[in-house]
Structures are given as C-alpha cells and as structure tokens.
C-alpha cells in the first residue's frame, strides 16, 4: 500500500476519523484542523509499504490527537521563544510530550522498581522491544493469556503510580498521589 492507497483509505474512513478527532479534541473546528493535518502528513511523510492501512491510519490519527491534547495541556506555560527556530512544526508537540513525560518518569520508575522481575521483563519486551503478546509468550515460556494478565497488572501499577485518579464521574477512590 502506497501513499495513494493510504489516501483512498483516509477518504473511506474520513467520517470515523473525524469522529475520533472530535471526541478527542472536544470541538469540531479543531477536529477538522487535525484531519487536515493528518492528510498533509500522508502527503509529506512517505511511509514504507504499509501492509495494513486501516490500523496504520488510525494509529497515526490517535498519536496526532494525543500530541494535540498534551500540547493544549502545556500551551499556557510554554516557552514560545523557540518556536521560530524549530526545524519543523510537527516537532513542537514532540518536545512538549518530552516535558510531560519527564514529570511522570520518577513515579513510573518507582513503580517498576517495585515489580517482580517477570513483570519488568514482560514490560520491556512489550514496550521497548515492541514484541506482540504471542512473541512475548514464546520468549518467556508462558501462555499468551498469562502474558496478557501480567501486562495488564503491570500497566495498572504503572498507571496508579503517583497519580490521584480524578475521573469526572467518580468519587475519589484512587491511591494517594504525590
């Protein structure tokens, strides 16, 4: 699948993509803007052959939406002085992502240090080596469902680390933050 093929898939999935952006970004105008951004990226970024265009496109859209959400979160305290010298506009959200990531890092590191070795291994194979759950199962000599369980529990511990859970519709029941 080449760029032309991806664009055809984009047009075919346009309504759902717009819905994704609208849901993630909260308003129609920004959703349209993000959709256009995605289209431009398809034009400029020439991916290698893409075997499965639909998931590829959605993942691209999801990452784009996530960058925009993080970006909006940081916009108020952003140092704009650098923006003019940025090599490309698309790098700005990445830089912001780095800042947000840094804020979370120590909590996540602490959670990982407290995990059993097996959980750490599973996380590394999943996140750093980007193996599928099937491959992780083969690597660790356990069943796929055991891998899934291990990863779910480990990711849950990571998610809870240092985070006060403030869901809009739920009373606070999370662990102690900070």
């Amino acid at each position: 699948m080449n760029t032309a093929g991806l664009k055809a898939v984009f047009l075919q999935e346009r309504a759902t993509l717009l819905r994704l952006f609208a849901g993630r970004l909260g308003n129609a105008a920004e959703a349209e803007d993000a959709l256009q951004d995605l289209w431009i990226r398809l034009e400029s970024a020439k991916p290698g052959p893409v075997a499965d265009p639909v998931p590829y496109l959605y993942r691209m859209a999801m990452n784009l939406a996530l960058d925009r959400r993080l970006s909006a979160q940081r916009r108020s305290d952003r140092d704009r002085a650098w923006s003019e010298t940025q090599p490309s506009a698309s790098e700005i959200p990445d830089a912001e992502r780095v800042l947000v990531v840094r804020d979370r890092l120590k909590h996540v590191e602490a959670a990982i240090a407290a995990m059993p070795e097996r959980a750490r291994t599973a996380l590394r194979l999943y996140r750093i080596e980007e193996l599928s759950q099937r491959e992780i199962a083969a690597e660790m000599g356990v069943t796929i469902s055991a891998v899934e369980k291990l990863l779910r529990r480990a990711l849950r511990q990571v998610s809870d680390a240092g985070r006060r859970i403030d869901m809009p519709d739920d009373s606070a029941k999370g662990n102690d933050g900070e």
């Binding site: 998931p55 996140r127 491959e135």
Partner: protein, 322 residues
C-alpha cells in the same frame, strides 16, 4: 462503575491496539467518546510514552568493565542483548552500559577508547557521575589518569556532566574544546565539523583564539573557526533526540544527513551527483532498519534509491512523487 474498571479497560484497549482491525478501531473511537474513558485512555497512553524512557527497561543488565581495561579499542556491541530477539527491528539499538572505575591505573599509557559500532549504542558512566551516551559510529578517548578529560574522535554523543568547580570537565574536539558549566549537551563531530547543542546548563566552546558561551537551547554548527559558524537556538528538550531515533536537520547538506542516518542504522548510504550539497530541513524518526529508513529518507528528499550490494545509492529523479 468504579474508576478502576475504566483504567483497566483503557489498558486493555491499549494492549489490543496493535491488532485492531477497522471495526475494532470504530469501537474504540466510540468507547473514547465518554469523557471518563478519554481521560483514562490519555493517562495510559502517556504512560506508554513514559515507559519508553525508563532506564530500568531500556538497559540490559549492567556489566562492570573496570580496572583491567587495556589501552586498546573497546569492542562495541559486544554485550549481547539479554534475549534472543535481535531480529526484531525495534531492538536494533541494544543499549549496553559500561561502568568505568578510576582505580587500578595502568602503568604508562592510561588512555583508552570506547566506541559504539554503526547501528549500536553505548553508555558510559564515569567515576565522577558523568554519563555519556554514544550514538552509532562514535569513538571516544578517555583517560584513566584524568577522568575529567574526554575526547570525541568522531561521531555523536550526549554528555550529562557532573559539575565540579575544582576540576572542570573538558571535552576535546581537535582544535576546539568544550568546557562545561554543569550541563547536558549533545556533540557531533566529523573531522573539523563540530555541532554542539546545549540541553541544560551552559558550556564554553573554546578554540585557539576564540571562545563562545552557549546556554540552554543554544546551538552552534561550525567547520574550522567561528567566523563561519552558524549559531542558533533549538528546543532544549529536543537535544540528543537521536536517543529516541529522532534526527532533526536544519539546512544540513544531504551528504551529512545521510551520514548521520547511516551511523544510526549501521548502513552504508551514498548520495550521488548534485544531491550531495543540497540542503535538507526536516525531521526523521528512524526505525533502526535501513530497509525501511533509507527508502523513507529517499522519498522525503524526492530521490530515487537503489542498492548495490550492501550500499544504498540515492540519486536525483525528475519524476516527482505524485
């Protein structure tokens, strides 16, 4: 429904994502339309990014190479990845950690080299707490007698320098040297070409006759002397982006850009003809696999590529990609 379930669901979606088909994605889009779901998903997705930065996951078991290190070239990439999955593209840049000790100084020549082969990486921790991350195709010379003096012979590395008023850290770059003022910075060197970007703190770049002070976000690109240097600003967070396989270019010659990609991927890339001197601006996120990265780079610069054995040859084309 408790918030625990929402977070668990978000994690389950995230885990399934790589295998979702079009219908699966439609269901996920629908699921995300609940604000509570969206908030949980964001947190999980952010943690996914954070996990990529966790040193305990990135590093293979640290090995201690101390005392007895002879004054010869250290073999890079000699540390096998702990698991036998090197064939997977994402693992191409296995990270090894070498811990140096200042004790046990060898008599006579106390200098030694640390190198990362093309396509590999290497991390070095010095006894004073200074840490150095070497990109592929990089050679450093260290001195056991003077741990505060390091030379970058060629390649690219990020330095996290522990400041010490009494013993300033010096990085030698041929005629030039960088003196830190407590800092993190990235340096790239090839012969007389030096590029320096400061991510934290400040450094002084000193030549035979000139001196330049750069602080956070400051960057310089030069060949020979400061008269012809380009001094500019970068986003401090983007300094050392090669560690996430992100390479940013702002007007470098294509030959230099290709060189940098080749070092990261351990590949051999040649830019043919008039393309060599064309400036290139843009950012590339490498996969670590030349088979994916080189054709992508070629497409970005509107070039044709072909292979000649292990060498990739990029040449100009009149036919614009549609």
């Amino acid at each position: 429904m408790s918030e625990y379930n929402v977070v668990d669901q978000a994690i389950a979606w995230r885990l399934r994502e790589p295998a979702l088909d079009a219908d699966g994605w439609r269901m996920l889009v629908e699921w995300l339309e609940m604000p509570a779901h969206a908030a949980a998903y964001d947190a999980v997705a952010l943690d996914h990014a954070v996990l990529g930065e966790v040193a305990a996951l990135r590093q293979a078991t640290p090995a201690v190479v101390a005392d007895a290190m002879p004054a010869r070239r250290f073999r890079a990439g000699g540390m096998p990845w702990a698991f036998g999955s090197i064939a997977v593209g994402a693992v191409a840049a296995a990270v090894a950690v070498v811990v140096m000790s200042p004790t046990g100084q060898a008599p006579g020549n106390s200098a030694y080299e640390v190198a990362a082969a093309p396509g590999k990486r290497q991390a070095v921790s010095l006894a004073d707490g200074t840490q150095i991350e070497l990109s592929g195709g990089t050679r450093l010379r260290l001195d056991r007698a003077d741990p505060r003096a390091v030379a970058l012979i060629e390649g690219e590395a990020v330095f996290h320098v522990r400041h010490n008023e009494q013993a300033p850290f010096t990085l030698n770059l041929g005629e030039w040297k960088v003196r830190d003022i407590g800092t993190m910075f990235n340096v790239e060197r090839k012969g007389a070409m030096v590029k320096l970007q400061v991510g934290e703190g400040a450094v002084a770049l000193e030549g035979p006759q000139q001196r330049l002070r750069l602080s956070r976000g400051g960057a310089v690109s030069m060949r020979g002397d400061l008269e012809a240097a380009t001094i500019f600003h970068v986003a401090p967070e983007s300094v050392g982006g090669w560690r996430e396989r992100r390479l940013a270019f702002s007007g470098e010659r294509l030959a230099e850009a290709a060189d940098r990609i080749a070092r990261m991927d351990g590949s051999d890339i040649r830019i043919a003809g008039e393309l060599i001197d064309r400036p290139f601006t843009g950012m590339i996120h490498l996969t670590g696999e030349a088979g994916k990265d080189v054709p992508y780079f070629a497409a970005m610069i509107g070039a044709k590529w072909r292979r000649n054995g292990d060498q990739w040859i990029l040449s100009s084309t009149e036919a614009f990609p549609q």
